[in-house]
Structure formats: structure tokens, C-alpha cells
């Protein structure tokens, strides 16, 4: 594995920002980045490209069953990267979806990178829209651009970025294309230089929308630090037991940020 960041980067200050893969050393991370996405979109490939680890990649869904963690440093900041299990949604209660959902909601990563299969954009957007309800600090990694091209599809990343309200970076992670741009986008969001205005669901029935707003306001009053009252309100209206517990125990409002929570989550895989 590579040596630790400060020494390794001493000589590259002139270049401003360079990727230093830290493999499995990620103590004292400045920022926590979560990697979410549908199964089989190349999350683990992106993970490996960023950390230099060799998390096994395979062309079959459900390969990453537990969370994998790794580190990298970029522009003199140390990042901890968490590879979540691939899921199609965050709404059901299967254990892999729960791991992903809980980490996004309670782990509060500084940046969430959503890896998206460019050749199956519509289906992948379901998850993207759900994640954007939870966090505004997101970056879309529009992966498998080569495959989309092979299937005669042209995806316009800028149009997509405008519609989703968060940065969109086209990549071919297997060939390490676009990884530099992805890093820059992660860095911009992590440091707050880019603030997303994520798309929020507009097509909820009017009665439901009103209920969400009312409950959301109540939640914000109870938990002033809550960043995604709207999503929590939706889950409560649906009767999600895990979220109800978090409200009851006050867990929802106590979290300062991802870093404070990490030790608790290290043993949380099923």
C-alpha cells in the first residue's frame, strides 16, 4: 500500500491536487464518502480505482454483501470511502437495503457518490431520486458510458446535472476514465464549494404532499439539526419501524456527523 498522505503529497503540492490511494488505512479521515448505486453498476470498480484496494469485482448482482471501507487522499484532504451494498431502492426491508439506507440516513456521509449505469438510466434514477431525498451532498457517477455507447445511447451529463441539481460525472471506471473529474467533484461537494439543489419529488398526491410538509415542519422543530425532514416524514407516514424507533430514542437528532458515528457502524454488517 501507499505511504500516508502528507509525505506522499509533499512533492506534488505544485500540481495542486493528486490522488493518493491509501488502501485500507483511513484513520483520521477529514471526510467520509459513501458509494451507493444499483447492483452491478461498477461500484466496486470505482471503489478500487479510488482506494487502490482490490475488493473483488464480479459481474453478478449482490456480490458486495457487507460494507467495504478504504481510504484515499486528494488535494491534501484525507477521505474515507464506504462501499455500500448495491440496492434498487431504499424503501424495502431486505438486509442489504437496510445497511445502505441506515448508513446514508444515520451515518451522514459528507458526500454520497451514486454510481449509475448510463445504459439503464431510467431504472437507476429511481434510487438516485430516493438518495437525493435524503441528502443534498451527492455526486452522480455516470458509469458504463462505453456500454451505453455500444447500445447506441447518448446520455447528456449536463442536462442530467441540471435536472437532478447535483454534479454528474461521466466515467468508464474499468478504464479509469473520468476518475479525476469524479475526485474533483467529490472534493468540491465535501468542502462546500459546490452546494447541490437536488431534485425533490414533485408528483406526490396533493394530500400526501401536505401531510409531508406538516410532519416535516414538526420534525424540524423537534430535531433542529435534521437535514432531511421531508424524507423522514415520508418514512414515518409509511410506518417505517426503524425510523419510528430513531424518533423515539432521539437518535435522529443527536448525530453530529458521520465521523462521530463510525465506530458504532463498523460492526453493523449482518
Amino acid at each position: 500500500m501507499k505511504s500516508s498522505a502528507p509525505e506522499a503529497c509533499a512533492g506534488c503540492a505544485a500540481r495542486g491536487a493528486a490522488l493518493v490511494r491509501l488502501g485500507d488505512s483511513f484513520d483520521r479521515a477529514d471526510h467520509v464518502v459513501a458509494l451507493a448505486g444499483n447492483p452491478n453498476t461498477g461500484k466496486s470498480t470505482v471503489f478500487n480505482a479510488l482506494t487502490g484496494l482490490r475488493q473483488h469485482t464480479g459481474n453478478w448482482p449482490g456480490k458486495t454483501v457487507a460494507r467495504a471501507e478504504g481510504g484515499f487522499s486528494f488535494a491534501q484532504r484525507r477521505y474515507k470511502l464506504v462501499d455500500l451494498p448495491g440496492t434498487y431502492s431504499l424503501l424495502s426491508t431486505s438486509s442489504d437495503e437496510e445497511i445502505a439506507r441506515d448508513f446514508l440516513l444515520f451515518g451522514r456521509p459528507d458526500v454520497t457518490v451514486i454510481v449509475v449505469d448510463a445504459s439503464r438510466l431510467e431504472r437507476n434514477l429511481n434510487l438516485v431520486l430516493q438518495v437525493l431525498e435524503i441528502t443534498r451532498r451527492a455526486v452522480i457517477c455516470l458509469n458504463l458510458m462505453d456500454e451505453a455507447e455500444r447500445r447506441g445511447l447518448a446520455v447528456d451529463p449536463r442536462r442530467l446535472a441540471r435536472d437532478l441539481g447535483v454534479p454528474v460525472v461521466p466515467t468508464v471506471a474499468r478504464r479509469r476514465q473520468g476518475i479525476g473529474e469524479l475526485l474533483a467533484a467529490i472534493d468540491e461537494v465535501a468542502t462546500g464549494r459546490t452546494v447541490g439543489q437536488p431534485h425533490r419529488l414533485e408528483n406526490l398526491p396533493a394530500a400526501l404532499e401536505r401531510a409531508v410538509q406538516r410532519l416535516g415542519a414538526e420534525l424540524e422543530a423537534r430535531f433542529p439539526r435534521l437535514a432531511n425532514a421531508r424524507w423522514v416524514a415520508l418514512r414515518l407516514l409509511e410506518g417505517d419501524a426503524r425510523i419510528q424507533d430513531a424518533v423515539r430514542s432521539g437518535e435522529l437528532g443527536e448525530l453530529e456527523g458521520a465521523a462521530a458515528l463510525l465506530p458504532r457502524w463498523s460492526g453493523a454488517t449482518p
Binding site: 464480479g58 448482482p61 449482490g62 419529488l201 415520508l234
Partner: protein, 475 residues
């Protein structure tokens, strides 16, 4: 207002609003998600020109998941991989054996003699630990270095989900989860990994079935045994030109029997101790991706081959010491090993194995990889052969496969013994690592015990049945 009261207020409001909104909130949410996903995707994706008239992915899928060709193709692919492994591993295995055993061992012995090292230290370290390790490396490294990259290439290409697709119906009829096909495939690499992979199965009942039956997927510790015995005994029955194919066929037969046993035991379990319905799930057939050949070979060598080999060596070192001690510590003029083998011999012969094989399996509980070296060494010892092999407790490489066959036949081996060894290698207790993993994943001593003991009994039964039928047919 206290925090708890405020929380209760929020929950109370949620409950009353839920009633007020009415209808199915989940469906409304999902509908909104789909509508907006479709709308956004539509705006940023353009389809260039005519869609390709010939879709290669679908053409391949139609072939490999076809009702009639799916299974034959799967078996042919398996046989092809085995054949490449068997025929490709022979030469490098011999070269490694020459270097490590003929060369390395002789050199170490003469060095020890010059330094006047005491007999027992020299025996324990060089004849015991070093030779066992050298054996494991020369027998295991070549087949693994061929088998794993080939298997990983198939995996990267996207073939595994198709296997799962083909087997799904059978698993469901057996009352198990279709994803068990994937965990079974992982088991072909390593059962411990296969057991961990069962985490992708949500239902605890189906997950337990997948864990208990994973042992029937031949792991890499057992492939070398299968390859060697099939080559020496089964392949030898055929004319030389077909020997490779026939041996590969025999290994395929054992692997397919393993799949059959997986189904059978899943079926029995889901109708007895683990009763229940199979749960539905959706399996996406991912697009085929041209594998990145060099990268795949590199990572599968590093990730799988080296790690597995490292583990084998780790277990081979102490096992070598144990074997040497058993062979050299005497009780009443006969070595411990001979005593144990004599004790196990009647039972072994009764079920078509022999005392040597049973003792080898006891010594090899930590790692299946060292079964064959142990068997060969114990055979020399117990048959009291002279002129073959360097001495008691010393493992050695024979010049060629013919010599291996000659040695085993001198030790009383027949084709029946070989067949039973292949069967027993498929059906016996999981290695200690897998047993530990099962305990960690299930958290249950009871199920761990079942997973460990049940296969041994089944294996002994299977060998006994084969022997009875074989003798009845008087082959």
C-alpha cells in the same frame, strides 16, 4: 415539554396524518419515483439511429439459458475448464516437483548432514514440514493458477447469473432460494467464502439451507484430489488419446453429483427441519462484458491463488510435523501411524476405502489440500514397500503419474478405492475454517454440528453403497 413527549407528539401526528391521507402511501411514493425517473431519463438520453438489428447479448442469452441447450452448455463449459486445468497443470507440476522436491529436498538433506544436525530435527523440519509444504505447492499451484483465472474470466464475462437463472427453477422446486446458485458457485472457489456469500439471501430459513449444503460444492482444496485420482485411475482405463477427456468427464461427474446432492439435501431439509415456502426474488441478468483478460488473470492470481496457497502452506507445515511424528514414534516396535491404520483398516475396507485414507482425512481436517500427499506417504509406510520413497514419514514426489499408480496399486488400491476416494472427497466434513465460518454466520452450535457431522455420515454411507453395488456387479 420533554424530549420524549415531543417525540411522541411527532409519532402521534404521523399516525393521524397517515389515516387522514389514506390510500396506499407506499404506492403513491413509488409511482412518483417512477414517473419522475422516466421523465428525467427521457430528457437526457437519446437513442442514436436505428437500434442495432442484431443484439449480441440477447443472442447469447437465448443460447445459454435455453431450455434444451442451457444445461448441456453449462456442463460442456465446466468440462472444458476442467480439461484445460488437468492437461495444462501436468507439466508445470512435474517441473515444480523436480525443483522443490528432488532438488530442494536433496540439497537441504545434504546441507543438514554436513552440519551434523541431529536426526530428529532434520527429520521433523526437512522430511516433515518442508516436504509437505513443497508437495502442497507443486500439486496445488499449477491447477489453481489455471483454474481460478478461467473461472474468474467466466464470472467477469457475466456467466454466473445465467447459471443461477438455469438452476433457479430447480432450487425453487427444492424449496430453496434461487440465489443459492450464486453462493454455490462461490463455494467452488472456497466453501468458507460461499458460506459468507449466503448473506445475499434474506430469508433465514433459506439462508441456513444454503449454508448447510454449500459443502457439496467442491472447493479448491479438493479439486487437486479429484484431478489427480481421476487422471491416475479413471483416465488410465481409457486409450491414451482420450485419457484427458475421460478424466475431465469423471471430475464433471463428481461435480454434477455434488449439485444433485445440493438439490436433494435442500429438498429434504425444506420438507423436514426447515419447512417453508421458497421466497420470490428478481434476478437481473447483467449485460455481458468483455473480460479484461490480463487484469483478471493478475487479480485472480493475487486474490485467490496466492491467498489459498498461503493458507494451504500454513496448514501443511504443522501437518507435516504431525505426519513425521506419527510415522517415527513407535509403540512396541510399530509406528503410531501403523497402529492407527491397522485399527481403521477393517472399517475402511468394509466401505471400499482403507485405513490410510481414513487416517489421512483425520490428519487433513484443518485443510483438505494435504489429503493426497498424506495418503501417498502413509501408503508407502503401511504397505512396507521397499525401494520406493525415501523412508518413513517422508513425503516425496514420484517421477510420474505411472509411478503414483504403481505405488497405490501396491498399497492395495483398486479402481473402486479411487472412485470411493473421489466420492468421499466430495462428501465429508467441511474444513475447520468453513466450520468456524458456519458457526460465526449461524451463531448456532447445533447447526454447526449438523453441518460438520451430517456430510461425513452421508459420505461413509455413499461409499458403502457404491462398494456393495460394485461387488454385487462383480466388476
Amino acid at each position: 415539554m420533554s424530549a420524549a413527549a415531543a417525540s411522541d407528539r411527532v409519532l402521534g401526528l404521523a399516525a393521524s396524518l397517515r389515516l387522514e391521507v389514506g390510500g396506499n402511501i407506499h404506492d403513491s411514493l413509488v409511482e412518483a419515483l417512477y414517473t419522475e425517473a422516466a421523465w428525467i431519463a427521457d430528457r437526457s438520453v437519446t437513442r442514436e439511429g436505428q437500434p442495432a438489428r442484431f443484439d449480441l447479448d440477447r443472442a447469447i442469452d437465448r443460447l445459454v439459458t435455453s431450455r434444451w441447450l442451457g444445461f448441456p452448455l453449462m456442463i460442456a463449459l465446466l468440462a472444458g475448464v476442467f480439461w484445460l486445468t488437468i492437461s495444462g497443470a501436468n507439466v508445470p507440476s512435474r517441473l515444480l516437483a523436480q525443483a522443490l522436491i528432488d532438488g530442494g529436498h536433496a540439497w537441504l538433506k545434504s546441507a543438514a548432514a554436513q552440519l551434523a544436525v541431529p536426526h530428529w530435527i532434520d527429520g521433523l523440519l526437512i522430511d516433515g514440514a518442508y516436504l509437505t509444504t513443497a508437495w502442497v505447492v507443486s500439486v496445488m499451484l499449477p491447477p489453481m493458477a489455471i483454474f481460478f483465472p478461467l473461472f474468474t474470466l467466466l464470472e467477469d464475462f457475466g456467466y454466473l447469473p445465467r447459471v443461477a437463472f438455469n438452476l433457479d427453477g430447480l432450487f425453487r422446486r427444492a424449496g430453496a432460494h434461487g440465489k443459492q446458485a450464486l453462493t454455490m458457485s462461490m463455494g467452488y472457489g472456497c466453501n468458507a467464502a460461499g458460506v459468507i456469500a449466503t448473506r445475499i439471501i434474506d430469508s433465514p430459513r433459506e439462508r441456513l439451507i444454503a449454508i448447510l449444503t454449500n459443502n457439496f460444492a467442491l472447493c479448491n482444496g479438493r479439486w487437486p484430489t479429484q484431478f489427480l485420482i481421476a487422471t491416475v485411475f479413471i483416465g488410465a482405463l481409457a486409450p491414451p488419446a482420450f485419457a484427458g477427456l475421460v478424466s475431465a468427464g469423471a471430475v464433471v461427474g463428481i461435480a454434477v453429483l455434488g449439485i444433485g446432492l445440493t438439490f436433494a439435501s435442500s429438498w429434504v431439509l425444506s420438507r423436514t427441519a426447515l419447512r417453508g415456502e421458497a421466497s420470490a426474488y428478481s434476478l437481473e441478468l447483467p449485460p455481458y462484458r468483455p473480460p479484461r483478460i490480463l487484469q483478471t488473470i493478475y487479480t485472480s492470481l493475487i486474490d485467490r491463488t496466492i491467498i489459498v496457497l498461503g493458507r494451504a502452506v500454513l496448514f501443511a507445515l504443522p501437518a507435516g510435523v504431525v505426519i513425521w511424528l506419527l510415522a517415527n514414534v513407535s509403540l512396541g516396535g510399530t509406528s503410531l501411524a501403523a497402529h492407527i491404520i491397522d485399527g481403521l483398516q477393517p472399517f475402511g475396507l468394509l466401505i471400499g476405502l482403507n485405513g490410510v485414507i481414513l487416517l489421512a482425512y483425520i490428519i487433513a481436517i484443518p485443510a483438505n489440500e494435504i489429503v493426497i500427499p498424506t495418503v501417498l506417504m502413509l501408503t508407502v509406510l503401511s504397505a512396507g514397500l521397499t525401494g520406493v520413497g525415501p523412508g518413513p514419514g517422508v513425503m516425496f514426489e514420484l517421477e510420474g503419474l505411472d509411478d503414483t499408480a504403481a505405488l497405490l496399486q501396491a498399497g492395495g488400491w483398486t479402481v473402486l478405492t479411487a472412485l470411493n476416494l473421489m466420492l468421499f472427497s466430495l462428501v465429508h466434513n467441511p474444513c475447520s475454517t468453513t466450520i468456524y465460518t458456519i458457526w460465526r454466520e449461524t451463531g448456532s452450535v447445533k447447526w454447526t454440528a449438523v453441518a460438520a457431522i451430517f456430510p461425513v455420515l452421508l459420505g461413509l454411507l455413499l461409499c458403502a453403497a457404491t462398494t456393495v453395488i460394485w461387488r454385487w456387479l462383480a466388476l
